[in-house]
C-alpha cells in the first residue's frame, strides 16, 4: 500500500492587501511590499519596481515582521522616576510629555538657545531635523556622520564634488575591474550586492583590499590582506607606479581637473580679476580662465609672472609622488603586501583603464562648449568605506584614493565610478557652516557645511569653539558632519560651555555608538556636588525600542516602528538616487500603531508649533503643519522646491512646482517612490556635461549650472595650512599649529594613524565588521536575526592562534592602553596576520532590548568599544589628543591596537566586563 501524492494547494493567496512602502531595517531604504491579512502584517518582500533593490531584500529586510512585533517596542511616553540609569520610568500621556518638553525648551530658546544640544543618529530626516534645530536657534545640531564615515564624505566632496558612501556607485554594467577598499557591508547594502552579482555573472574581476576575507572580500577574485591603517601607502605606491610608467589619463587631467591650474607663491591658485582660476592654453600659450571656450589647458605650463615662476598643480603632484619614498618596495612591509603584488595591481589598473577602454556612441557637450561625439570609458571602478575612513589618517587616504581614480580617468565615465544625484555638487554649491545663535531667534543659516577656509570656522568672537561638539574649530577644521561622539563628554566637562538639555534621537549613545562606553555612562549619570543636579541637567530621547540609551534619559518620546509612520527619503537629504536617475520615496503608516506612540518627526512638528518656532507656525500663531505627512507635502525649502520631487503642482510637475495636496496619495499609488531619469546625453561626465547641468537646474538640485574641476590639489586645505603657517587674520592656537601644518597638506600623504600606543606592547590591530544580517544594536531584538548572530567570537589569525596555543572554545583577555575585555575566540586563517576582529554591536547590556537577562548577547556577546577611548593616551606633552582624524574629527574606531593573552573561561562563560542589569522599566 502506498499513499498517493496529496493534493497540494499550489496557488495559495498570501494576504488580502499589499501596501508598498520603504524598508527601514537599515539605511539602505529598499522598497517593500507589505502583505496584510485582515490588517495584520503577514509577509514582507522586495518591491521589484523600486530603484534601490529591484525586488531583492536582505536578511534584515525580510525579518521586518519580527521587528514590528518585537516585545522591546516602547509603549508610551515615559518620565524617569528612579535615578538616571536605573531604567525606572512611569508611562505618561503625550500631553504631559509634550508639555514637559516645552517647559524645558521654551526658556532655553528665550534665553540662550545654544543650551539645547540636539543630535540625531540613524535617522534619515536630517533636512527636517536640522530645519527644526535652525528654527530653534541652537548651533548645536548634527547627525551621526562624525563618528560614522565623514572622512569618506568630506574627502569625496572636497576632491571631486561627490563621494562613495551611498552618493555614488560603480558603473556595474560596464566596469571590468572593481577594487573594493575596506568595505564589509556599507549603506548601499543591496545595490552593492546586486552590483557584485552583475560583475560575477559577467566574469568581471573583483579585487578586495581588506585585512579580513569575508563577505564581499570572500568572493573577490584577488584578496589583498592589507595591514590596517596603511591603505594610504598602498594607494600612493600605486600612483607612484603609474606616474613612473607615464600611465595616467593626461587628457582627462587637463580637461576636468585642477591639475593644469597654475599656483602662486602662496600655494594658492592664480586668479584673474573675476576670481577665475587660470590655466595656460596650449594652443595660444595665453593665460586664460579655466572654463574659457576652446581652451586646451597645459598640464606642463610654467609661467613667469613678476619674476616668479608659476607651475601647475600637476607638477607639484608628480614631483611628490615620483619620490622613492612612495616606491612599492618602500611601503611593502608596512602594508603587509608584497612590492610585486602592488606593481602588478598598478599594471592591471592601467591595463584595464587604458588598453581595455570602452566607448559609448553618445555625443555630449562640455561646459566649455565643446561637443564630443562619444563617451570614452575607463572600465576600472572603485569603492571604499569605513576601512579607509575610520582611521585618523582616513581623510588623506580617501583623498589619495580619489586621486588614483582621477589619474586613471575613471570618475564619471562609462565603466568607472558614477555620482548619483544630487551629486556631483562642488564644495562651492554647499553652504558654509553657520553658528550664530541669539535668544528667541532662528540660527543665521544651516549648521553644517563645507568651510572654504579659516574664515568659515564655527568660532565665537574670542576664537573659541561655538559649538558644543567643537566642530569646525581648529581641532578639526573640516568636520563637515559635526562630532556627535564628543557631545556627551564636552557637555559633561562644560567645555566649551555648559548646556542645559541634551536631546538625542535614534542613537544608542550609552552603548555601541560611543567609545569608552562605561565612562560615557558615568558622565550621563554624574551629579554636580554643589547643586545636587545632574551635570548634564536634562536628557530627552526618542527611540522606538528598549535600547541601553533609554535608561539614561529623563523624558522618553517613543517613536513608532517603520511601518507605522510617515517618513520622507528626500533629495534634500540622503536620497535614494541611482546614477541614471533621481529618486525619492516615502514611508507611510501601512498599519496603525497598537501602542500610544507617535512618529518622532510628527512629535517634532508638534513641539515646533508649541514652541512657536517660525518655521512651524503661521503669523497668527496657528500650526503650519498638522503632522510630518503634512510637512512633507506643504513645506517649501525654496519656492516650489519641497521635500518630495514627484507629483508636484497639478501632479505632473517634477522637482519644481507648487505643493500638491494629493502628493502622498500619488506616491502611494506609485509604490511609495518616484523616479526621474537622467537623459542619455547627461549620463556621464556630469560635472562638466551641459545637458546634465541643465537637467539638474530644471529639477531644482541647484539654481544655475555648477560646472567645476576636480581638486587633485586642495586649495581649501592649503588655506587652512597657510593659516597654520602664520598667514592671515584667522589663526589657530599655537599648540595645534604644527599638527595643522602637517596634516592639512593640499596633496595627500600618509601618516601613522595612531602614534600613541606602543606597537611592541600592543602589536595587534583590532577591528569590527558589520554583519550583513544585523543592523547595529537593533537586530538583536529580532527573533529571527538573533538566531543568526546571537553572540560574537573574536576572530584570530593563524599565526597569533598558534603562538598563543589557542583551541576551539578558548577565551582571551584583550588589552588596549585603555582597558581590558575577556572574550571567546575563534580561528580565521583568511585574515591579515596582525589583525583580530569581531562583529559590531552584537554585545548587549543585560535587561535591554526586551531580552531575558540570560540572553547570549548579554552574557557571551561583547563590544570592542570598551577598549577604545575618545582621547588618545597621554603623550607627555600635557595634552590629550582626540582619537580622531585631525582634519574632520572622524572617530578613529579602527586605529585600535591591542595585546592578547589566553585565559581560562570566565565564570559562567560570560564575557568581561559585565555591567549591572538594567532593571526593566
Amino acid at each position: 500500500m502506498t499513499s498517493p501524492s496529496p493534493d497540494l494547494d499550489l496557488s495559495p493567496t498570501i494576504g488580502d492587501e499589499v501596501r508598498k512602502t520603504t524598508c527601514y531595517m537599515c539605511a539602505c531604504r529598499c522598497g517593500i511590499n507589505v502583505h496584510l491579512k485582515e490588517g495584520v502584517v503577514k509577509y514582507i518582500e522586495g518591491n521589484r519596481d523600486h530603484p534601490v533593490n529591484q525586488g531583492v531584500l536582505c536578511a534584515k529586510g525580510s525579518a521586518g515582521i519580527k521587528q514590528h512585533t518585537a516585545p522591546s517596542r516602547l509603549r508610551a511616553p515615559m518620565r524617569r522616576v528612579g535615578p538616571r540609569g536605573s531604567n525606572q520610568f512611569v508611562e505618561i500621556t503625550w500631553e504631559e510629555a509634550l508639555q514637559t518638553a516645552v517647559d524645558w525648551l521654551a526658556p532655553i530658546r528665550r534665553e540662550d538657545p545654544k543650551k539645547l544640544a540636539f543630535f540625531t543618529g540613524r535617522d534619515q530626516s536630517q533636512s527636517f531635523t536640522s530645519f527644526w534645530a535652525q528654527n530653534f536657534g541652537t548651533p548645536n545640531y548634527a547627525a551621526h556622520g562624525g563618528f560614522c564615515s565623514v572622512n569618506m564624505a568630506a574627502a569625496g566632496i572636497y576632491t571631486m564634488g561627490g563621494a562613495f558612501w551611498e552618493f555614488g556607485q560603480p558603473d556595474w554594467d560596464r566596469t571590468k575591474m572593481f577594487v573594493l577598499f575596506g568595505v564589509a557591508e556599507d549603506h548601499d547594502s543591496n545595490p552593492i550586492k546586486i552590483g557584485i552579482g552583475k560583475l560575477k555573472a559577467r566574469g568581471a574581476r573583483v579585487v578586495g583590499v581588506n585585512p579580513i576575507r569575508s563577505g564581499y572580500n570572500a568572493v573577490a577574485d584577488d584578496w589583498i590582506g592589507i595591514t590596517p591603517g596603511t591603505d594610504g601607502l598602498l594607494i600612493l605606491a600605486l600612483i607612484h607606479e603609474l606616474l613612473k610608467a607615464g600611465r595616467v589619463d593626461f587628457d582627462y587631467l587637463a580637461r576636468w581637473t585642477n591639475a593644469p591650474l597654475l599656483l602662486d607663491a602662496d600655494g594658492l591658485f592664480l586668479r584673474d580679476d573675476d576670481g577665475k582660476t587660470l590655466v595656460r592654453d596650449k594652443a595660444t600659450g595665453d593665460l586664460v580662465p579655466f572654463d574659457q571656450a576652446g581652451v586646451t589647458p597645459d598640464l606642463g605650463a610654467q609661467v613667469t609672472l613678476d619674476g616668479h615662476l608659476h607651475t601647475t598643480a600637476f607638477q607639484a603632484m608628480v614631483e611628490r609622488y615620483l619620490d622613492p619614498q612612495y616606491a612599492p618596495e618602500a611601503v611593502a612591509d608596512r602594508c603587509g603586501v608584497s612590492a610585486d603584488q602592488i606593481k602588478r595591481l598598478a599594471a592591471d589598473l592601467a591595463h584595464v583603464a587604458f588598453d581595455q577602454a570602452i566607448e559609448i556612441k553618445q555625443s555630449w557637450t562640455d561646459f566649455r562648449g565643446e561637443t564630443h561625439t562619444t563617451m570614452v570609458g575607463r572600465p576600472v571602478s572603485m569603492h571604499a568605506m569605513r576601512g579607509i575612513s575610520a582611521h585618523a589618517n582616513g581623510f588623506q587616504t580617501a583623498r589619495a584614493l580619489h586621486i588614483l581614480q582621477i589619474l586613471l580617468g575613471t570618475v564619471e565615465v562609462p565603466g568607472g565610478f558614477r555620482f548619483k544625484p544630487p551629486y556631483p555638487k562642488p564644495v562651492e554649491a554647499h553652504p558654509a557652516p553657520h553658528c550664530k545663535s541669539e535668544p528667541d531667534c532662528t540660527l543665521n543659516g544651516p549648521h553644517l557645511g563645507f568651510p572654504r577656509g579659516p574664515e568659515d570656522l564655527a568660532l565665537d568672537e574670542n576664537g573659541n569653539p561655538a559649538r558644543i561638539d567643537k566642530a569646525f574649530s581648529w581641532e578639526n577644521p573640516m568636520s563637515v558632519h559635526g562630532l556627535m561622539h564628543m557631545v556627551i563628554s564636552n557637555a559633561h566637562a562644560g567645555d566649551p560651555y555648559k548646556i542645559d538639555t541634551l536631546f538625542f534621537y535614534m542613537a544608542n549613545m550609552a552603548w555601541n555608538s560611543s567609545m569608552n562606553t562605561s565612562a560615557v555612562i558615568e558622565m550621563l549619570t554624574d551629579v554636580d556636588k554643589d547643586t545636587g543636579d545632574y551635570v548634564i541637567p536634562k536628557i530627552i530621547y526618542s527611540d522606538s525600542y528598549s535600547s541601553e540609551m533609554v535608561a539614561y534619559a529623563d523624558l522618553i518620546l517613543p517613536d513608532t516602528t517603520y511601518l507605522e509612520r510617515h517618513d520622507c527619503i528626500s533629495l534634500l537629504d540622503r536620497p535614494i538616487c541611482e546614477a541614471e536617475a533621481a529618486a525619492d520615496a516615502i514611508r507611510w503608516p501601512v498599519v496603525e500603531p497598537d501602542r500610544d506612540v507617535r512618529g518622532f518627526q510628527s512629535t517634532l512638528v508638534d513641539l515646533g508649533t508649541r514652541l512657536s518656532l517660525p518655521g512651524f507656525t503661521n503669523p497668527d500663531g496657528s500650526a503650519k503643519y498638522r503632522d510630518y505627512g503634512d510637512y512633507m507635502v506643504k513645506h517649501e525649502r525654496r519656492p516650489g522646491i519641497g521635500p518630495l520631487m514627484g507629483f508636484r503642482g497639478n501632479g505632473d510637475a517634477v522637482g519644481r512646482g507648487a505643493p500638491n495636496p494629493d502628493q502622498l496619495d500619488r506616491y502611494i499609488e506609485n509604490g511609495g517612490f518616484f523616479v526621474h531619469h537622467v537623459p542619455q546625453e547627461a549620463q556621464f561626465y556630469k560635472p562638466w556635461n551641459q545637458a546634465y547641468q541643465n537637467w539638474a537646474v530644471d529639477l531644482g538640485l541647484y539654481d544655475n549650472p555648477q560646472p567645476y574641476l576636480f581638486n587633485i590639489y586642495s586649495e581649501h586645505m592649503r588655506r587652512f595650512q597657510r593659516a597654520a603657517e602664520g598667514h592671515g587674520d584667522h589663526q589657530p592656537p599655537d599648540h595645534l599649529r604644527d599638527r595643522l601644518k602637517t596634516v592639512l597638506d593640499p596633496l595627500p600623504f600618509w601618516y601613522e594613524p595612531d602614534g600613541s600606543s606602543d606597537p611592541t606592547e600592543y602589536p595587534i590591530h583590532a577591528l569590527t565588521q558589520r554583519p550583513m544580517a544585523m543592523y547595529h544594536s537593533w537586530g538583536s531584538q529580532n527573533a529571527w536575526l538573533r538566531q543568526i548572530h546571537g553572540d560574537n567570537p573574536l576572530y584570530i589569525p593563524q599565526q597569533v592562534w598558534d603562538e598563543h596555543g589557542f583551541q576551539d572554545g578558548d577565551w582571551a583577555e584583550v588589552t588596549s592602553p585603555h582597558g581590558t575585555i575577556t572574550v571567546p575566540v575563534a580561528l580565521q586563517a583568511a585574515l591579515n596576520g596582525q589583525t583580530v576582529w569581531t562583529w559590531n554591536a552584537i554585545g548587549k547590556r543585560k535587561g535591554t532590548w526586551g531580552l531575558d537577562t540570560g540572553a547570549p548577547e548579554a552574557t557571551k556577546g561583547f563590544l570592542l568599544n570598551h577598549l577604545i577611548h575618545e582621547l588618545l593616551p597621554p603623550k607627555g606633552d600635557g595634552l590629550r589628543w582626540a582619537n580622531s582624524d585631525p582634519i574632520t574629527g572622524q572617530a578613529a574606531w579602527f586605529d585600535l591596537r591591542v595585546k592578547i593573552e589566553k585565559v581560562a573561561a570566565p565564570l559562567g562563560h560570560a564575557s568581561q566586563p559585565q555591567f549591572p542589569t538594567l532593571a526593566r522599566s
Binding site: I194, K200, A245, F250, D298, M772
Partner: protein, 251 residues
Amino acid sequence: MTTLPPPSTKKLGLVIDLDTCVGCHACVVACKGWNDQGYGAPLADVDPYGSEPWGTFLNRVHSYEVTPDDGGAAQTVHFPKSCLHCEDAPCVTVCPTGASYKRAEDGIVLVNEDHCIGCGLCAWACPYGAREMDPTAKVMKKCTLCVDRIYNENLPEEDRQPACVRTCPAGARHFGDLGDPESDVSRLVADRGGMDLMPEQGTRPVNQYLPPRLKDQGGGCAPMVPMGDAKPTGFLAWLDKALDAMPGGPS
C-alpha cells in the same frame, strides 16, 4: 509515496553559485518568512527572546575556509544549504508513513505534514542536514522548493520562483529545470563545472553548486616598465616622454 517514482524528466532544483554568494543570509530569512506563513505549519521559534533561542530554518548559510594545497592564501567560502531534492532520496525511502515523498511530475521532495508521525528517520537518512523536525508542530520540515510559489497563479509570473532565489541580492541562487539540458540552469552547470555535494553518498542531488573561480591569480599583467629616468625633478622631461608614449598623443 515512499517508494521513489520513476525518474521524472523535469527535475526542478537550485543552482548555487559559491563564487558569488557573499554570505548575507538574505535567502535564509526570506525562506523563513515565506514558509512561516505558507506551506504547512509555521516554522517554530523556541525561546525567541530568551537565553537559547532556536528554531526551524529550511535553509542555512555556513562559512568554510579553504587553504590551497600550494600554500596560497586561505579563502573564505559562504555556503548556503537547503534540500537538494535528490534523485535517489534516502529520506523518502526510509519514511514509514509515506509522508515523505518525491513528486513524480517535477522531482520535488516534500513532506505531507498531515501524515507525518514525526519519527525523525528521514532527517537521519539525509546526509546533508536538510530536514529539521519542527519543535512546535512536531512534524518534519524541509525546503519545499517553494512549491506554493513556483506554480502559484495568484502570483505574477515573474514571482513564480522560490523566495530565496527571488531575494538573493547577489544573484547567487538560480532556479530551474535541471532535467532539461537546454535550460539556463543546466547551461550554467555545464559552463561553470557544477558539482554534487557528497557524491559518494549516492543520493544524486538535483541541486548543483558552482565552485568558486580560481582566486588570487592577479589580472595577468607584469609590472609596468618605468619611463627612462622618471625622477621627482625633471618634470617637463617626464611629461614630454609620457605624452609621446600615449597613443593618439593627447593634449
